[in-house]
Symmetry: C2
């Protein structure tokens, strides 16, 4: 047994904290306290499991979590190593809802940016099995250039998934597989631009990355304020399309109200306009069944956009849309011109996972976990931050924490960053933050708030995070 092993073999089976979480804490404490230094090796999971009297799986999961949080580095066939902050891998230079600002000093210990799923739970074995099945069954001809709408087998099982899980009115011939949500949005915007569209309305606040995508497709933006019922629909709105997140407004978490839904679809129908429905996280609905999609109500007006980034992993770059009949071919033509279509082996692997029920199973499993985290986080925030208000927590992987009036959102973000907790404030998602002054209307429900993602927040860290939030907001108040 090496020295590192001794550091954390005293597990307490009686205190109610899961052994995995205790292991994680022990390692974190050892690193934070200087008992383990950058570059130090941790014991192999087998050795530690023996020493600690737990199953090897418990140790592996703890290590995976620690790696996800940036404490340690796992390499195949070698012992895990304590990460050296100084030589930590640089962050992705950009990331959907991920950038903590240009001044991020080091890799965060905890990542509370929104819409990030728990990557330690990515079902590697199922993906491998799907790949194996796909390669065994694919005829050679399926390795050629193919239909830019995407693999036919995948479109077939995906249509069934969309009907079953997401409440979409989908038929395989309306489904287009894309390289993620971003590409789906881009292609849809290009196809609309070719038909004469010029302006796309976006919610304010909303995902900032989408704006660059819309502009890249040659369209202009117009901001529409959001309140507790979602985007405020003005029947006189001068735009050709409307990008909305009706199930769980990003980032406020609001559910688009029935009245607003009707108003939005009426606006679209009246002016021969389109709705772009970004359904990024409706697989995770905790308090009630997911709301019916807009697409189901008006499949010829609504371009539905979905993604595997929140359920499986962003790195799959797997997304899809269900498009009005007349737009499918134009979208496919755009895709052919820009990249000649998507990869086939991954498409078939994903299709095999869907067909085998592995995707549904994974979503059920992770939904339970995220639900638990959501409950604990909300309870911890209410207990420790009575002056703040929790909103938008009904589903997905994030909620909105409204700070007391006058609190300094940026200062709170900076204070958390000092503790290596990465988080974003609401302000960064507002159009005014990026647009020229005057281009956007003033959003309702203004005021300081933090967007708290819990996709990567282990249960064991929730209380500590709530404490850190309290301290940061207190200092910034």
């Amino acid at each position: 047994m090496n020295r590192a092993t001794e550091l954390f073999t005293e597990l307490d089976r009686g205190n109610g904290t899961p052994l995995r979480a205790q292991l994680e804490h022990s390692v974190c404490d050892a690193i934070a306290g200087g008992g383990l230094r950058p570059g130090d090796r941790l014991p192999a999971s087998r050795l530690l499991a023996e020493a600690a009297g737990v199953s090897r799986g418990v140790v592996s999961e703890a290590y995976a979590q620690l790696a996800a949080e940036g404490w340690i580095e796992i390499r195949r066939g070698r012992a895990p190593v304590v990460r050296a902050e100084a030589v930590a891998a640089p962050l992705p230079r950009r990331g959907r809802a991920e950038a903590a600002g240009p001044s991020s000093p080091a890799r965060p210990r905890l990542d509370l940016t929104a819409t990030a799923p728990d990557l330690a739970r990515f079902p590697r074995r199922a993906w491998m099995a799907g790949t194996r099945r796909a390669l065994a069954a694919m005829p050679d001809a399926a390795l050629d250039y193919a239909d830019p709408r995407g693999d036919e087998e995948l479109r077939t099982v995906l249509a069934a998934y969309l009907v079953r899980v997401c409440g979409v009115a989908a038929a395989p011939e309306r489904v287009v597989v894309t390289g993620g949500y971003t590409q789906g949005l881009w292609l849809a915007c290009r196809a609309l631009a070719r038909r004469g569209a010029r302006r796309v309305a976006v919610e304010d606040p909303s995902l900032d990355d989408s704006r660059a995508t819309i502009r890249s497709a040659g369209l202009e933006l117009v901001g529409v304020p959001v309140d507790g019922d979602g985007a405020r629909i003005d029947p006189r709105l001068d735009a050709d399309a409307f990008l909305v997140t009706p199930a769980h407004q990003f980032p406020t978490g609001a559910l688009l109200s029935p009245e607003r839904r009707r108003a939005l679809l009426a606006w679209a129908a009246e002016g021969d306009r389109h709705v772009l429905e970004d359904d990024y996280d409706s697989e995770y609905a905790y308090d009630s069944p997911p709301v019916r999609t807009l697409q189901r109500l008006a499949p010829e007006r609504v371009i539905y956009l979905g993604t595997a980034s929140k359920t499986l992993a962003p790195a799959l770059r797997m997304g899809w849309m269900a498009a009005p009949a007349e737009l499918v071919e134009p979208i496919a033509a755009e895709r052919w011109a820009v990249d000649s279509g998507g990869p086939a082996i991954a498409a078939r692997a994903f299709a095999a996972m869907l067909a085998a029920g592995e995707v549904d199973r994974h979503i059920r499993r992770t939904r339970r976990e995220y639900h638990l985290r959501r409950d604990r986080l909300v309870a911890a925030l209410r207990e420790r931050l009575p002056d703040c208000r929790v909103e938008g927590q009904s589903g997905g992987l994030h909620l909105l924490l409204r700070l007391p009036p006058g609190a300094d959102e940026d200062a709170a973000v900076a204070a958390l960053e000092q503790r290596r907790i990465r988080i974003r404030g609401l302000a960064g998602y507002r159009l005014a933050a990026l647009e020229e002054a005057g281009a956007a209307g003033s959003p309702a429900g203004d005021g300081p708030a933090l967007v708290v993602g819990y996709g990567r927040l282990p249960l064991a860290s929730i209380d500590a995070v709530a404490d850190a939030l309290r301290d940061a907001i207190g200092a910034a108040g």
Copy 2:
């Protein structure tokens, strides 16, 4: 032993034709002669191998080839079935250098369209092993959104590959991984357009699909005639960039002469212009080592574009570029906006294959095979078609067959299509075929010609193909 087995168990070990080829012929003959009808099952490879006294691998390879040619359908765990023409899967609606025209009546028996590799040789096992290694070694963080230039591990081994195999001056920080050649071209054009570029010169004739890609990126086209020394470089050419295929002009097969190379780079340097070097098939050079890339001579002027579509399979959608330093960041920014970057597991799988030497090994193996096909095809064409001229055969997966003056290229293509041999004439690659009259100069070396791809032409079929070409050209003369 079932009836089908009896049809082709009389192999002749003494006649010099490989057993695999004999098996293929037997099945083709049985189908063509009516002995096997659509829907009929073929014997399982194990049974046929026993009956014919050959190894099971020989039968499996023969079946794979027959499936690639469209005679039979292979499904995992079931016996192969003779394909019913009437219910044959539709062709991909579009394909790089692949569309035989809108009137294609049925799936072709033989596909002679250019630049298509032999998909039956795709190294499925190596891809699977690469995926396994990648998934075992990837830290969770690698499943997140990532660098839009592509996976760092892949860029590192890819840079080494480009130096070693392709003669590129590449460093990992100059390499950008793309979703295939098409996306690389599109991204490069967009980045150039943002710097003020308006016009891209393309070779005439050239790959027609690239023109839609360039236009999609917002640039105009100007055609430059091609002769036996490649594109004719005019120092007064009014364009901001030049897309060339210097190693093996597509589709004429010409090698860009040293004088033209110098002239092209001088033109670029003088006007602060760029060269887009499409190096689609230089891995397959048969008669001499591959020529040095333009990129190596002027890495700050030339955007080098490569692809795995010709060596491995188009369905991987794996391409790369080596870009001038000042363009890497703009290209990455374009990519982030349009699709948030590429998939990571496939990137790491490909990196693992490269690192293990599997890609080099696959290229060596297939190079031997294609070299043999090239030799046999050239010999067969020269023997049977003395009035035609073979050109551009020094490398790659296709050559140009110049028809006698006055021969009707379209009629020859149609006659071959009647025999279910898919091929394209030279005319379809000319700019004049697609552009408004007068936009392009008149290409030199005009006259009827067929572009003969042999990537999917089995050795066993070469004589029959030469016969079919002779008949078709004779009838069309």
